[in-house]
Every structure is written in C-alpha cells, then in structure tokens.
C-alpha cells in the first residue's frame, strides 16, 4: 500500500471530523494534497494534522465516537489518535485560536480531546475545499500556511523538511496568494517578520533532501520573496 493510499484512506476514515465546518487539514500534508490528483510525492511524517478551531471543539468532540472504529486516542498523548490498522496514518489534532499571538501556545484542556494550541496557526485562514476519497476536505489558504511554516521555529532535519514544504507551497502560489502573504506579513510584529526572513535565508541555502523538491533551482524564487518582504519593511536588514 502506497503512502498516498494510506493518506487517502486516513482522510476517508476521519471524515466525520473533517466534514465539520471550519475544521482544516493543516501541516505538511497540505502540499501533498495540493499536488495534481493529490499525488502526495513529498516525504513528510506519517500523520495527518487536523486543525480544530477552538470555537468548534465541542462539535468535533461530538463526532469523535464515529472515528473510534478506526482509531483510538494515544494514552501518552491524547491529541494523537493512532490507527487500528497499518493501512492508516496517525491523526494529530491541533488547536487553532485566531485570537492568539503567533508566539503563544497553550493547552486546551478537555477530558477526551485536549489540544495543543499553536499560536502560529492563527495565521491560517480557510482556503479551498476539495473532495478527496469521497470526503470534503477544507484546506488552509496557501498564503497563511506558507507564512505559518516560515514564522515557526524550525530546527534540525524536521525543520529543514518543513522549510522545503514551504518551498513547495511557494512554487504553487499565484499572484493573489502573494498579495495575501504581503498583507499577513505586514501585520506581524517585527520579531516575527525577522523570523520569516531568517527562515527564507536558511531555505535559500538548503541542500536537496530525499523525496523533497530540490531547493537549488528555485533559489531565485526564494530570494524574490525575501526582497518582496523587505520592501514591506522599507528595505530592512
């Protein structure tokens, strides 16, 4: 069974939650799903991140029993639901709270589905809805996800892969998305803008990783975005 098959089977198995209004698929699988035919060629971790806006936590919680046939909550980390079959991926629930600062994080306490709420996810807004494996899946707007990837602290091999995911998004965005990136970037505090630019410089020097887009032929696009964002800062260094 290919990774793509498992990803699609996981989406189908998580349908009760994914079809709740305002729930988003977030994280590194988004570029995989944005590929033509959801080709899922990027090598990322074997989980599906589901973003749960705090205001719809109760609604999601009501749907969870429908997922118990296929998954069970991890006793070590109850926001992770592990599959009962090797044909599925883990499901990782994360919280979205638009009122939070991008640097903030907190635990949304709950007896069944506690959530780690990442402030950087507040940059996400709902994007297009696609149908995959008979399931309506709401993706975040590429601009918000790109900025979320670039504003977050990235270290080590996973950090590099996350930046290559950002590169994959950068290659997929159009002019309207870039305008949205500009607007989101301009609204960030200077420290976060610096983090975005810093991560872009790291991305511009990354080597190729197995199963990820080769960043070297795309360095010009990376520096073009960097210069564009510097214009917003008035040429800040």
């Amino acid at each position: 069974m290919t990774f793509r098959d498992r990803l699609l089977a996981t989406i189908e198995a998580a349908r009760p939650v994914l079809e709740e209004p305002d729930v988003l698929v977030v994280g590194s699988e988004v570029p995989n799903l944005l590929e033509p035919g959801a080709a899922a060629t990027l090598v990322v971790s074997q989980d599906l991140d589901i973003g749960v806006p705090i205001h719809c936590h109760a609604a999601v919680k009501r749907r969870l029993p429908e997922m118990l046939i296929r998954f069970h909550p991890s006793p070590e980390e109850p926001s992770v639901w592990t599959p009962r079959s090797p044909d599925l991926l883990e499901v990782n629930f994360v919280g979205i709270d638009p009122s939070r600062d991008p640097a903030d994080a907190y635990v949304f306490e709950d007896d069944l589905l506690p959530l780690l709420v990442f402030g950087a996810l507040s940059l996400l807004t709902a994007g297009k809805e696609i149908e995959i494996a008979g399931t309506r899946v709401r993706l975040p707007s590429p601009a918000g996800l790109l900025l979320e990837k670039l504003v977050s602290d990235r270290t080590g091999e996973k950090g590099d892969r996350d930046l290559l995911v950002a590169l994959g998004l950068l290659m997929a965005v159009g002019p309207a998305d870039l305008d949205q990136v500009d607007a989101l970037y301009a609204a960030l505090r200077p420290e976060f803008r610096y983090a975005v630019r810093s991560n872009l410089t790291i991305l511009s020097l990354l080597e190729q990783r197995t199963g990820m887009p080769d960043p070297r032929p795309r360095r010009a696009a990376v520096v073009a975005l960097l210069r564009r964002l510097e214009q917003i800062d008035g040429g800040a260094a």
């Binding site: 640097a103 994080a105 602290d153 420290e191 630019r197 260094a237």
Partner: protein, 117 residues
C-alpha cells in the same frame, strides 16, 4: 492526561524565548549569521579565490560585502558578474551553503542572479 502536552508547551515557549534573545542580538555579533545568509541568498553561485583577487575586483568597483569583516579571520566577499569570474583562473566553485568549503574561504566571489544589479 495533558502532562505531555504541557511539556511540549513549555519546550515551545523556551524556544520562543531563545529566538527572542537572538532577535534582540540581531545587530550584534550573533546576528552575523543572518547577515551572511542574507548576502549568500542573493548569489547564484560562489567561488573561493585568493584575497588579492578580491582586492582587484574591489578596485574595479565591484560591490564588497561588509559582513565578511565581521568574522575572524575576516572574509573578503565581493559580488561580480559570472563573466568576470570566468577570467579568474584560480576561482574554485564552492557549494552555496554554510559548509566547510565556503566557511574556510578567505576570499569569496559571488555571482548575482541575473535580475540583480
């Protein structure tokens, strides 16, 4: 039940604090790595050259990058067109990343992307 999540929040906040500390130092010595990466981001290729070749390029009016002076030993870094670099027999291409070859070079010539002036 949420002890692990709490630990992750604590770790994440610690990383945010460390990053804020780095941000406050961006204009000081620690910020030199960002400044070097920023210069390298503008380059389509990098070449290690003897420092006297860099001096020659500077004398010709090519752009020198002051970030090189912030290292010890200092690096002489200059931008020059690829056609000019091709005339330097001793120029040796080095990978554009913060690897050993680039960091060991005392003289670096960077070629700009075609859109760079």
């Amino acid at each position: 039940m949420t002890r692990l999540l709490d630990r992750r929040v604590t770790a994440l906040r610690a990383r945010v604090l460390a990053r804020s500390w780095g941000y406050r130092q961006r204009h000081h010595a620690r910020g030199v790595w960002y400044r070097l990466r920023r210069v390298l981001a503008d380059a389509s290729a990098a070449f290690a050259v003897p420092t006297d070749e860099v001096a020659r390029l500077v004398a010709e009016g090519h752009r020198v990058e002051t970030v090189g002076r912030e290292f010890e030993p200092p690096k002489a870094i200059v931008f020059a067109p690829a056609a000019r670099v091709a005339q330097i027999a001793s120029a040796r291409a080095v990978p554009l990343r913060l690897g050993r070859e680039l960091l060991e070079a005392e003289g670096l010539v960077l070629t700009p992307f075609e859109t760079t002036t």
